[in-house]
């Protein structure tokens, strides 16, 4: 209210009609003021773009093995190249590496070859792929200029596969499981929560007991039991959907509770009574009047549910009972770093995918928090 100035001078100067903003525009305005949440929105958007065009951003084929590049540490990108004659020029590159095996300890180490570099560039030709699954392409955003060279920006794993490319491809599975899982819990949560809140009575009681039951048992052992029953021989796509379903079993309970609470409080509002007196059917009242008044809350809770699902998938795949290789997700990547010995030898196997998970989950959490604050008309 304070935005409107009632002093006579202001009225004289003001344009005839004040600009009226709709609820969504108001929310957007409030959301933009929440700087961390706004930055997170961009970050989350960027991660999904990365997932969508994964093959384009991945410098190497994610499943290409290389016997001469096992456990290569992350290679630093260098800018200035000094030629033999001492002249320096600007050229993005990494050192060309030579593998050395210590015969006594059987440990590998890598050293730079004198005078040899792997030049890097943008929009370079590389391995062929299908953009978005149907457009044939072989250009990559960034990578070695010569398609036969390999550069490991985040190191390589025990088969010489490029960790960066695997993380980018893994983004597709890990981030989409969050979305698909949330879509499933949206459907279950809103319908059960809606029924529970709108009709009340015994059906409300039953649904509430089921929710209490699901929340009172520890999830990990239950998921483990369900996920372990997935036959190993199943096609990856089916495994993916079953894992998503199992993971979304958590999401819907909190959503259903929220929807129920909203229904309960809205049911007695005057405008709902008025709509009902006007002869609208139950379904019309719900669809036209109730859902629009709490959809912003739903969006916020959904955003907050996505990171939970990502973490759940990661945990299951890490234990080896969720998604299985050759499916690449952040969880299956971390499975490679399961024991301390591997981590000591190749810490980047843990650090790189781990950082990615933390960044994605943090960004989604901040985004959800910001949306929730923006959706709440009573918050400052």
């Amino acid at each position: 209210m304070s935005a409107i100035d009632h002093s006579p001078a202001a009225i004289a100067d003001a344009p005839a009609a004040p600009i009226l903003l709709g609820p969504w525009a108001l929310m957007w305005r409030k959301f933009k003021r929440h700087r961390i949440a706004y930055a997170s929105l961009w970050l989350v958007g960027f991660i999904y773009v990365l997932a969508l065009f994964g093959n384009f951003f991945a410098p190497q084929a994610h499943d290409e093995t290389n016997r001469r590049g096992i456990f290569v540490p992350p290679q630093a990108i260098q800018f200035i190249h000094r030629a033999e004659d001492g002249s320096a020029r600007l050229q993005l590159h990494v050192d060309a590496l030579r593998m050395k095996v210590d015969q006594a300890t059987m440990r590998r180490s890598y050293e730079a070859r004198e005078g040899e570099i792997i030049p890097l560039g943008f929009f370079v030709k590389g391995h062929p792929y299908q953009l978005l699954g149907f457009i044939k392409a072989d250009r990559h955003f960034f990578g070695p200029k010569n398609p036969d060279d390999v550069a490991y920006f985040l190191g390589s794993d025990r088969l010489g596969r490029d960790i960066l490319s695997r993380i980018i491809i893994g983004t597709q599975i890990s981030m989409s499981i969050g979305l698909v899982g949330v879509a499933v819990s949206l459907v279950i949560g809103v319908s059960l929560g809606g029924i529970s809140g709108y009709y009340g009575g015994w059906i409300d009681n039953v649904i509430q007991r089921v929710i209490e039951f699901l929340r009172s048992i520890p999830t990990i052992p239950l998921w483990m039991g369900l996920a372990a029953a997935i036959p190993l021989g199943w096609p990856p796509l089916r495994t993916y959907f079953i894992v998503t379903l199992i993971v979304s079993m958590i999401g819907w309970t909190s959503l259903a509770r929220e929807v129920r609470g909203k229904f309960l409080s809205l049911r007695n509002e005057d405008f709902i009574t008025a709509a009902r007196l006007d002869g609208l059917s139950d379904w019309e009242v719900i669809r036209k009047h109730m859902v629009p008044s709490f959809s912003s809350h739903i969006i916020a809770s959904l955003t907050l549910a996505v990171p939970l699902m990502i973490l759940a998938e990661t945990s299951l795949s890490f234990l080896g009972i969720g998604l299985q290789p050759p499916i690449v997700s952040w969880g299956t990547l971390l499975k490679e770093a399961q024991n301390v010995r591997t981590i000591i030898e190749a810490p980047w196997l843990l650090i790189a995918p781990g950082t990615m998970i933390v960044i994605a989950v943090l960004a989604l959490n901040f985004l959800g928090d910001g949306l929730r604050d923006a959706a709440d008309p009573h918050a400052q």
Binding site: F213, R215, P218, P221, G225, A228, I321, V340, P347, V358
Partner: protein, 327 residues
């Protein structure tokens, strides 16, 4: 209070029933049954003789309708305290699980205490010194704690402990103490190891509770009754502890209900990473080799004990806060 107690326990009965049904469903999920697995395993050793096969089929009701099998399993548990046989190790499930369950719940409860001990003072501090450097640090660690999955934190801590402190990691005691009788040295050694899973499992819960405590206390701090007490000249610390903190504590207690299941979950996954002698590794192994009676019994007991823990916390809450009893 008695009425509340009876009602609350009555609510538990359908939950317990549902838990047992779900667990039994999990036991039934993998294709084939116990006898097929056993027969396949014993095929090298001359196979399963018909008499044993018949006796086992009878005992577990195999080949009969599902609900008969369920009732036989339940009857074994309820009347004979018999959870079935682990067919990987060929011993009764009873012999394998109780030690490990004990450790799982010991660690979970210690973690709960750890969470309380850290979240309470930090939450109060960040509410009282709102927007101070300390508050921002607490908020930052709170968000990190929520975003880092348990197993990842476990891996990072093991790496750091090994690389920079040279500590042997994994297990609850050093290798030389395993299977030794309890001595003072072993207890000291246990304490050196057990803090790590506790911190790892507790971090995300503590992070969440700090946020809750901070929000609760901020709601109370500027209420008129606080101002009144201050105007009467009460010292700031006494004032804080005696009124707003006590009010803010109530929702804090009620969170045990949902925190206990997440702690047990977290303990199980962290135990797998750190190779602790608790339920986690045993359950994972049992599921991977489809040792279903062992896996099912573990899931059943872990869930039931968690439900029981939640019940106890609810009763405690009702005892502390009379408003809940009369809802």
């Amino acid at each position: 209070m008695l009425q509340f107690l009876i009602r609350r326990i009555a609510y538990m009965i359908p939950t317990v029933f549902l838990v047992s049904v779900v667990t039994f469903a999990i036991i039934q999920l993998p294709p084939g049954d116990y006898l097929d697995t056993l027969a396949a395993e014993l095929a090298d050793a001359g196979g399963l003789d018909e008499g044993t096969r018949q006796a086992l089929a009878d005992q577990y009701g195999l080949g009969q309708p599902i609900w008969v099998q369920y009732l036989k399993w339940m009857r074994g548990i309820l009347f004979h305290w018999d959870f079935g046989i682990s067919f990987e190790k060929n011993v009764p499930v009873n012999d394998l699980i109780w030690d490990r369950l004990g450790w799982t719940f010991a660690i979970s409860i210690l973690t709960l205490l750890f969470i309380w001990m850290t979240a309470l003072p930090i939450g109060i501090y960040s509410a009282v010194k709102k927007y101070s450097v300390g508050d921002y640090v607490a908020t930052f660690f709170g968000f990190i704690g929520l975003a880092v999955p348990n197993f990842l934190l476990a891996l990072v801590m093991m790496y750091v402990a090994f690389k920079y402190f040279g500590q042997s990691v994994g297990g609850l005691v050093s290798p030389e103490y395993i299977d030794q009788p309890w001595t003072w040295d072993k207890v000291v050694d246990l304490l050196k190891h057990i803090w790590m899973p506790i911190v790892v499992v507790g971090t995300s819960g503590a992070a969440a509770l700090i946020r809750i405590m901070r929000a609760n206390l901020l709601d109370e701090l500027y209420r008129p009754y606080v101002v009144t007490a201050r105007a009467k000249g009460m010292s700031e610390f006494q004032l804080l502890m005696r009124y707003p903190v006590r009010v803010a504590l109530n929702p804090f207690v009620s969170t045990i209900g949902w925190i206990l299941p997440t702690l047990v979950s977290g303990e199980i996954i962290v135990a797998v990473v750190m190779n602790l002698p608790t339920t986690g590794p045993l359950l994972l192994r049992a599921l991977l080799v489809q040792d279903m009676y062992l896996a099912g019994s573990l899931i059943l007991i872990v869930s039931l004990l968690t439900v029981l823990g939640t019940l106890i916390s609810d009763l405690l809450l009702a005892w502390i806060d009379p408003r809940i009893r009369y809802q």
